[in-house]
Amino acid sequence: MTRDPVSEDRDCGADAAACALGALDPEQAEHFRRHLESCAVCRDELTAFRLVVDALPMAAHQHRVPPSLRRQIMRDVRAEPGRAAGRAKRLRPRRLPARLVSRPALAAGLAAAVALVILGGLELAPGGSSRTRAIQASVTGVSGAARLQVTGGHAELVVSHLPPPASGHIYEVWVKRGHHAPSPTSALFSVTRSGAADVGVPGSVRGVSTIMVTQEPAGGSLAPSHAPVIVAQLT
C-alpha cells in the first residue's frame, strides 16, 4: 500500500477536507491535529468543511423511522433509571411486537437448577458517591455473558451473545429480596442480532439480593415459568 506522508504546510488544505470527512488514517489525523495548533488557515478550512460534512447526512434519501424501532427505543429508555423512570408507576408487562420475539432459539433444557456464581465485583469509579459496581452474572443453559452495573441504587444489566428468546417468548427481569419469591419487573427485553441488550432494572435495587432473568411468554409473567438463564447476586 502506498502511503502519502503527512502533508506539510504546503498542501495542508487537502488534509483538512479528509479530516472533516473522517478519512485520515489515525496517525495522520494525529499529525494534522498537531498541525492545526499552528495553522490558522487550516483551522478555518476545517471548520468550513465540517459544516459541509454536517449537512451530508441529508443527502441520503429520507425515510420515516420505523414505529417498531421508536417503540423499542422508548421502552428501553423508560425502563432505565432516570427522572421519568423514578416517577413511573409499576408497569404491567406488555405484549411486545412480533419482530422482537420471532426467532426460535432457546432449547428446552433450561430446567437445570442454576448455580449462583458470583465471579466478582469491580469498583469502576472509586472515591465518588456515584461509584459503579460491576457484578459478573452467571449464565446458565444458554450461551452468552452478562454483567450487572450498579450505580447509586440503580442497576443496569448488560448482556452479550445471548440467543434471542424462543418464538412467542421474551426475556423478563426479576428481583429477589432475601428468601421472598422473585418479584416481576416491567423490564421485558429481547436482544439485537448480535445478542446484545442493555436493560435498566426498574426501581431501586436497595435490599435486592438477586436479579435474575427468565424466558417467559410474550407479555411477561407474574411468576417465573422457566428456570433462570441469568442470575446476578448482589449480596
Binding site: 502506498t2 502519502d4 483538512a16 470527512l21 478519512a23 459544516l51 424501532l69 427505543i73 427522572r83
Partner: protein, 179 residues
C-alpha cells in the same frame, strides 16, 4: 437538551421524534440493510440516553451532533465486520421512503432540505462525488479509497477538497442549511 441530560424520558422522546428519521435515513444509507440500520440507530440513541447526552453548542446543531453519533456507530459496525457485505454507498432501490401523501409539514421541509444537499452533491463531478461518498457513507479512509480506485492518496485527498469546497459554495452557509 438539558432535560435530556437530566434523563427526562419525555424530553428524550421529543428529541427522538425530531431527529429519529434523519438518523434512520443516514444509518440505512450507510448500512444498506434495515435490521442493521435499526441496530445502529438504537445503539446510538441509547448511548446518548445513558451518557447523559453531553451536548455542547460548540459541536454545532443538535441534529448534526446526533447524526455524528449515528455515523460513528455505523462505522464502528463496519469495523466489527457486521455489515461488511452491505457497504453499498448507493441507496437506490431502498424501499419505504416517505411517500408524498404521508409526509407531515416538518417532513416536507426536511425533504426539501435533503433535496438541496443531494443536488449539491449530485452536481459534483463523479470522481469528486465518489470519493466523498466512499469516505462519508462508506467509512473508508483516503488510503483505502486510493487502493480501491488505484489512485495516489494525494489525488484522493485533492478530490475530497475540491468536492467539499464546491458543495460549500453550492449550499451557501451550511450552518443555515442545517439548523
Amino acid at each position: 437538551m438539558q432535560l435530556v441530560a437530566d434523563r427526562d424520558a419525555h424530553a428524550f422522546e421529543v428529541i427522538f421524534d425530531r431527529h429519529g428519521s434523519a438518523a434512520f435515513s443516514l444509518a440505512y444509507r450507510m448500512c444498506g440493510r434495515r435490521p442493521m440500520a435499526e441496530d445502529v440507530v438504537q445503539d446510538a440513541f441509547l448511548s446518548l440516553w445513558r451518557t447523559g447526552a453531553r451536548y455542547s453548542r460548540t459541536r454545532g446543531s443538535v441534529r448534526a451532533w446526533i447524526l455524528g453519533v449515528v455515523h460513528n456507530r455505523a462505522i464502528d459496525a463496519f469495523r466489527r465486520g457486521a455489515v461488511k457485505e452491505s457497504r453499498d454507498v448507493s441507496d437506490d432501490g431502498i424501499a419505504e421512503r416517505m411517500e408524498a401523501s404521508e409526509r407531515t409539514e416538518a417532513e416536507v421541509a426536511t425533504r426539501a432540505e435533503a433535496q438541496e444537499v443531494r443536488t449539491a452533491l449530485g452536481e459534483l463531478p463523479a470522481e469528486q462525488r465518489g470519493v466523498i461518498e466512499l469516505a462519508y457513507f462508506g467509512g473508508f479512509t483516503h488510503t483505502q479509497i486510493a487502493e480501491m480506485l488505484e489512485l495516489p492518496p494525494g489525488t484522493v485527498k485533492g478530490r475530497m477538497r475540491l468536492g467539499l469546497a464546491k458543495m460549500r459554495l453550492a449550499l451557501g452557509d451550511p450552518a443555515e442549511v442545517v439548523p
